[in-house]
Amino acid sequence: MTDDILRTTDLTKRFGALTANDEISLSVERGEIRGIIGPNGSGKTTFFNTVTGFYQPDGGSVHFDGEEVTGWEPHRLARRGLGRTFQIVSPFKNMTVRQNMLAVQTDDGRSREEKRDRAGEILEFLEIDHIADNEARGMSGGQQKLLELGRVLMLDPEVVMLDEPAAGVNPALESRIMDHIHELNDEGTTFVVIEHDMHVMKTLADSVSVFDSGSHIAQGDFEDVSQDDAVREAYLGGTTAEDDEVPI
């Protein structure tokens, strides 16, 4: 038996007539990096929202770390160890970058100093420590993405769900973010990552789930999945995912 840290069973979410998530059953093993791909509007973000408690599911259940957590409030899940980021960045605009980090609330009884130190480390790693005392409203799009990632790491979560962490991020930085994800993963953190950048998917994901029209249509190694005709048709189009060659 595999050690599932996160498992959904027939998870369903409807918006009026639209079924954004249609009986999605998916399990994530402890310690893996799971990629989620699928066309725009296929229900990936909705899945995140339902799993993390932002939407009440219309059916199905969510299990996290051996416990049923269906319908838990987001903050409770977050403190329990299930962190997530948002596709559309959501910095606390009127607070400084550091305060953004320190606002995070955990149950682990860390002292203020420990929290400050940890925040400093993360900011340094993400290379936004030089603007730590600037208001977040003045950050560029990419910087906001980094802050988004940094904040969730403050939770020291067991599972981190990242919604398009690389979108709009400069390639140089992107590869550093991936390194860091690998690093954290080596230390035992599980990741679920939505990403449209196939280069990222390929380097990052141990396995990939494919969504289409609200359903979970395929799962497997990135290589296998990306050769799948249905996936190519629905999602990848003419691009060959392996096409890494730079045309210069």
């Binding site: 791909i37 699928g38 066309p39 725009n40 509007g41 596709q87 003045g138 950050m139 560029s140 799009g141 990419g142 910087q143 993405k145 980094l146 398009e164 979108a167 709009g168 991020v169 400069n170 390639p171 140089a172 930085l173 992107e174 590869s175 449209h196 950048d197 196939m198 280069h199 999602y235 990848l236 189009g237 003419g238 691009t239 995912a241 890494d244 730079v246 045309p247 210069i248």
Partner: protein
């Protein structure tokens, strides 16, 4: 590659020593830039000032120092709404569609500065030809479309202006791979029609396939400019700023 034979009569959009920023916080430290025929790409790390620079070109961010000209016209102090009438269209970062307006209305808003009714009809037909997927959605509210379709709407809307120069800020961000292809395909089409495109992209690999000229911005300064071929000699730059 297309278009770049230097014979196009599209005016050159150029910036000389542009300085700008927000409140008292300076972002751009003297940018000198010129749009070329075909696609002029701007790359650079996050927060390097790419979007800010684009916003000085389209008038959203006021220029502190330096000048911006379009052919013979001085646009340094011009307002966004006037800049459009000179033939410069923008696709802002994120697309910026009007969600509560229908798709058709979005296209019509794009043609707001166009008085010629026939031209509007013609261009709308052209947009639908490029994006047949929009045909069925004309009456729908734009916000009900998927992310990729929304990007088509904003590209189509930019085309409706009938502009000669297009400023595109990360048109492929957040799009599924096959839609990325579509977006880049559209850029090629614009160029084929003789337009100049200024393109900001983080999807450097894909963008380089189109680029006729490349600028690399970092910390509000131009670190490199030249044709893409010259980039290959700049290993350090590539590594540092483009992750290649």
């Amino acid at each position: 590659m297309s278009g770049g034979d230097g014979s196009s009569d599209v005016p050159t959009l150029s910036a000389i020593g542009v300085e700008a920023g927000y409140d008292r916080h300076q972002v751009l430290h003297g940018i000198t830039f010129e749009s070329r025929d075909g696609v002029t790409c701007i790359f650079g790390p996050n927060g390097s000032g790419k979007s800010t620079f684009l916003k000085t070109l389209n008038g959203i961010v006021p220029v502190w120092d330096g000048t911006i000209t379009y052919g013979d016209v001085d646009l340094t102090e011009a307002k966004p709404e006037d800049i459009v009438t000179h033939g410069i269209a923008t696709l802002p970062q994120g697309g910026g569609i009007f969600g509560s307006l229908s798709v058709e209305e979005n296209l019509n808003v794009g043609a707001f500065t166009v008085d010629d009714a026939d031209a509007i009809v013609e261009r709308k037909a052209e947009v639908l030809e490029v994006f047949p997927a929009l045909e069925d959605k004309l009456g729908q509210k734009a916000r009900d479309l998927s992310g990729g379709q929304q990007m088509m709407v904003s590209l189509g809307r930019a085309m409706m202006t009938g502009a000669d120069t297009f400023l595109l800020d990360e048109p492929s961000a957040g799009l599924a791979p096959r839609l990325v292809d579509d977006a880049f395909g559209l850029i090629e089409r614009l160029v084929d029609r003789g337009a100049q495109v200024v393109l900001i992209e983080q999807n450097v690999r894909a963008a380089l396939r189109l680029a006729d000229y490349v600028y690399i911005l970092a910390e509000g300064e131009v670190q490199f400019h030249g044709p893409p071929e010259d980039l290959s000699e700049e290993d350090e730059l590539m590594e540092l700023y483009l992750g290649l």
